[in-house]
Point group: C2
Chain length 224, copies 2
DNA sequence: TGCCGATTGTCAGCTACTGACATAATCTGC
DNA sequence: GCAGATTATGTCAGTAGCTGACAATCGGCA
C-alpha cells in the first residue's frame, strides 16, 4: 500500500479509525515481520525456525502461516512494500518522460522516499538485500517476486504510452531489462562495501546510476 | 558436459571405457531424471513425491538425494545440460563478432545443436520450460540457476574481450540483459502456442530473434 | 447482554530433507 | 581368483516446513 504521509485518505478505507480487530492484526503482522527480520539477520535464514519466530511474537506456528504463505514471504515482506512504492512512483511520473527516463527517475525517487520516513526505512531493505544474496533459497524467491513485478511494470508502461501490452513486446522487454540492471546493481552493492559507499540510499542510487550509464555502451559496439 | 558426437575423447576421461561402477551410476542418474521428468509432466510437480520417483527407478529415497540436492535439481537437470552447451557454443564464437552478436549467434546455434542429436533433445527442454512457467517453486529455482549462469556468461565475455570482469560493469550487465531477453522470450513462447509456431527449435529461435530485434526500440525514444 | 463472524490454538499428518550406521557391491594389488 | 580398501546403497530415526480440521475465544454489533 505504500502509505505516504501526505495522503492519509485512501479510497479503500471507508472509516478513518480501523476497528480494534484490524489494528491488532496489523500489529501482529508487523511484529512477525520484525521478529523474522532480526532473527534471520542475527542467526541466518536457514538456522531460524518458524517456531522461533512465532515464539518471539508469542503466537502459534499455525498463526504464522495464516499471515504468510511460507518462510520466504515473511523475509521478503519489507521489500514487497518498497516495490509497491516504486510502482506508485512510476505511475506518477510526468508523461513527457520516455519510458526509460521515467523508470530511472522513479527508482531514485522511491529509494529517497523510502529513506525519509517509510516503513522500517532503507536500513531494513539494504540489510535484507545482503541477506538475500547470501541465501540461495531467499534469492530464488526474491527473483521470482521480482520477475512477477516486471509484469506489473510492463503494464504501467503500456498504459503510460497507450499501448497494448499483449501484442507489443517493448513494455515487457524494457521492464525485464530494467529488472536486470537493478539486479546487477544490487549484486555490485552487496559485493562492496566500497570505500566511498554511502550507507543510506545515496550509495545505492549512485551504483544504479552508474550501471544505467553503462547500459548503452554494453549493448553496442566492440568494447575496445 | 554437452557430449558432441564428433568429439568422443575428453581430457577428463583418462580411460575410454568407464568402469562398471561409473556406468551404473550414470544409468541410475539418467533413469531418475527421466522418471522425474515424465512424472512431473503427467501429474504436475507438486503432486509428485520423491518416493514416487525413487520407486519408479527402484531405488530408495535416500539414494535420490545422493544424486540431487533437492527436488528442483532433478526437474531442471535437462535444462542444465542445455545451458552448459550454450556456454560452449559461446566460447567457440569467432572473435570478430562483438559480444551481442556472439550471444545471439550462440543461442540460435545451441537450440539447433540441441535439436539434432543432443540428450533428450529439444522436446524435453520445451516441455520443461512450460512446466516451469506454471510452477512457482520451479520458476524460482530456475531463475536462480539462470542468474548464476549469467555470472559464467559474463566471465566468458570478459575473457573474449580481454577485460577484467571485476571492474568493468559491461560484461555482467550485458549477460543480465541477455538473460532478460531470453526469459521474456520463454514467457512469450509459453503463453502461445501461436498458429504459425514451429514445434521444434525453430519456433523458439524465431521468437527470441523477434525479441532481440525489439531490444533497441524498447530502450530508446518515445515508442510513438 | 447476547448473538455472529473472525482469529487463534491445538492436534494430527504429510512431505522434503539429513545424519548415522550397516550392508552389499565394485575396484585394487597380489 | 582372493583379501582388503572404496564406494554406492538401504534402513532408520529425526527435524522442519506446511496444511486441514475442529474447538475455543475474542471483537463487532444490535
Amino acid at each position: 500500500m505504500a502509505p505516504t504521509p501526505t495522503a492519509p485518505a485512501n479510497a479503500e478505507t471507508p472509516c478513518r479509525v480501523l476497528g480494534l480487530r484490524e489494528r491488532k492484526k496489523q500489529r501482529t503482522r508487523d511484529a512477525l515481520v520484525d521478529a523474522a527480520h532480526s532473527l534471520f539477520l542475527s542467526q541466518g535464514y536457514a538456522r531460524t525456525t518458524i517456531d522461533e519466530i512465532a515464539a518471539a511474537v508469542d503466537v502459534s506456528q499455525r498463526t504464522f502461516f495464516r499471515y504468510f504463505a511460507n518462510k520466504d514471504e515473511a523475509a521478503l515482506a519489507v521489500l514487497a512494500d518498497a516495490e509497491d512504492y516504486f510502482i506508485e512512483c512510476l505511475r506518477r511520473r510526468p508523461a513527457a518522460e520516455n519510458p526509460l527516463q521515467a523508470m530511472r527517475a522513479a527508482i531514485t525517487e522511491s529509494w529517497r522516499g523510502l529513506g525519509s520516513e517509510h516503513t522500517g526505512g532503507v536500513r531494513a531493505a539494504l540489510e535484507l538485500l545482503q541477506l538475500i544474496e547470501s541465501t540461495p533459497t531467499l534469492l530464488a524467491a526474491h527473483l521470482r517476486r521480482t520477475t512477477e513485478q516486471e509484469g506489473v511494470v510492463a503494464q504501467v508502461l503500456a498504459d503510460r504510452e497507450g499501448l497494448d501490452a499483449a501484442t507489443d513486446l517493448r513494455p515487457r522487454l524494457l521492464a525485464a531489462v530494467f529488472g536486470a540492471v537493478l539486479r546487477v546493481s544490487h549484486l555490485a552493492w552487496g559485493s562492496g562495501p566500497f570505500p566511498d559507499q554511502d550507507a543510506g540510499p545515496e550509495g545505492m542510487i549512485a551504483i544504479i546510476e552508474r550501471h544505467f550509464d553503462q547500459l548503452g555502451p554494453a549493448l553496442v559496439g566492440d568494447w575496445r
